[in-house]
Amino acid sequence: MADTQELRKIASQVRRDIVRMVHAVQSGHPGGSLGCTDFLTSLYFGIMQHDPKFNMDGINEDIFFLSNGHISPVFYSVLARSGYFDVKELATFRKLNSRLQGHPTTHEHLPGVRVASGSLGQGMSVALGAAKAKKLNGDKHLVFSLHGDGELDEGQNWEAIMFAGHHKVDNLIATIDHNGQQIDGPTDKVMSLGNLHAKFELFGWRVLDMDGNDMDDVIRVLDQAKSLAGQGQPICIIMKTVMGKGVDFMEGHHEWHGIAPNDEQLGNALAQLPETLGDY
């Protein structure tokens, strides 16, 4: 496993990839992607046992589901950087005939993607099904999932949250990207989430809090979450992040949910993000 110093280097390159991908097509979602970069980098370069040769069934490996599919740029970059496909393919993001669709899909057979996502609120159910399949297969590996906090407005999540507690799905680690922002503004204003930590606990989950933009904390909490698996409770991580993290003029602004930087803003962003692994 890469140490946290190494993970920070990778994360810097992933952030460069994100802003370059979104800039190149002048569309996509940089804000949440940048906020979740440290988490996804940690998963794919540290926490998960996974095979970039990619097998859809994912037997005898840890698997990950991205429910908030609009943050595809960070997902694609991390998949490419960890060997699922050539990083050069990142240049095709959102373009015609690309496997890197605006939102992730299995339809074009991009290695690393196990279900389509983008229409929100569906990923936790899928993760629960995959977790049940692992149990039926006697596979001790884990299922990880990521969800937006705004995405929790969708009722299907609460069906899934209730199910997971009732059925004691203890091989699932679901992380909520709690950046407090959604398209129309702060989550507190659009649709208040209240005390998320307490809500998950009341549904029977083991809940951990994490600073999703502090690599040491991310590794510490994810390791702790893994150690809690198999104890009769599903595990939720409430991950505090800053939307747009790593690019100062984007940080904390919901306006950067789904717009692309212009040429000048790209230059400004890249100046803040050291090129550590070589641009694609």
Partner: protein, 322 residues
């Protein structure tokens, strides 16, 4: 001849599902069954008793059920979701669209209580749009078996058929006449129940039996009737449809579904492109249903035997005068 078709007994098509799921569960250890609080109505008792670890009770949460089913395929399971047709389709359309169809997951969506024959519960539960909804999804296979034996056969057959499937059946006891061993059912292959030269009746589901009754009346009137059970609406056996229309040059379609978007439109689509001939539709006329017993409802909404006879005579007249 249609008069030669023998009824073995009267049984619920959902009961065929219940027997089929038990047998395929026994034969295939990857089969997993999910339900949204309707295990009894879906006749899951024997499966649950023998394979409790492969049964998933989701509660009244159909959206979650579809997603969990999609996830179960990742790891090689063959999930069957079970609830009423209304809650299997319209309620969860986007979940099926994204997590199952677009993601090409091997999920079997099994839907009972379809159409008017659900009866007294009324229009909130009597979906008449589900065939259309499901056949519109790229990659979705749509199967509407006609009786108990065929529902049992289809339930077992879809396990070995890779890809998403919508399997639609119903609530009431209904004449059971196809082969007990299901050997006359092949996914995607139209079932010719009688050969004829004057008119083709295409039917699916419960209305296959009504079409047999109507065909017998037409035979007594001296017509030569070709009756084809289109149990697989998608992928449609276009070759069989074209072959029959080329011979009879007029048709009636019969379904317990809105005439917009169902079996009739699928047949007409083939005819329009290949062989435009007069076609009459028997189905609900862009309306919701209501409470009542199944027989009364089929009569009131024009899906009964006399309606099929009348539609056939109209098509025959159009052919004659065309």
């Amino acid at each position: 001849m249609l008069k030669d078709i023998q009824v073995q007994n009267e049984k619920e098509t959902r009961g065929g599902f219940g027997e089929g799921i038990y047998e395929i569960g026994k034969a295939n250890p990857n089969v997993v069954v999910l339900t949204a609080d309707l295990a009894g109505s879906m006749k899951l008792g024997p499966f649950i008793k023998e394979f409790p670890e492969r049964f998933v009770q989701v509660g009244i949460a159909e959206a979650n059920m579809i997603g969990i089913a999609a996830g179960l395929t990742i790891g090689g399971k063959i999930p069957y979701t079970t609830t009423f047709a209304n809650f299997s389709t319209g309620r969860v359309y986007d979940q099926i669209r994204q997590s199952v169809a677009y993601s090409n997951k091997n999920v079997k969506i099994c839907a009972s209580h379809a159409g008017l024959t659900l009866g007294e519960d009324g229009a909130t539960h009597q979906i008449l749009e589900d065939i259309g909804l499901m056949k519109m999804l790229p990659g979705m296979t749509v199967i509407v078996p006609c009786d108990f034996n065929q529902t049992k056969a289809a339930t077992k057959a879809v396990a070995d058929y890779n890809g998403p499937v919508y399997l639609r059946f119903g609530r009431p006891k209904w004449p059971n006449f196809t082969k007990e061993d299901g050997s006359d059912f092949v996914i995607g292959k139209a079932q010719v129940l009688s050969e004829g030269t004057d008119i083709t009746i295409f039917a699916c589901g419960h209305l296959v039996w009504k079409a047999i009754e109507a065909g017998r009346i037409l035979e007594e009137k001296g017509y030569s009737v070709e009756l084809i059970n289109i149990h697989t609406i998608k992928p449609l056996d276009e070759e069989a449809v074209i072959k029959s229309l080329a011979k009879t040059r007029c048709a009636v379609t019969c379904e317990e579904h809105n005439v917009l978007g169902g079996l009739g439109d699928s047949i007409a689509h083939v005819a329009a492109r290949n062989l435009p001939v007069p076609i009459e539709y028997v189905g609900t006329q862009d309306t919701f249903g209501e409470s009542g017993n199944p027989k009364e409802l089929l009569t009131k909404y024009g899906l009964d035997t006399p309606n099929i006879v009348a539609a056939a005579e109209k098509a025959l007249n159009r052919k004659k005068n065309g």
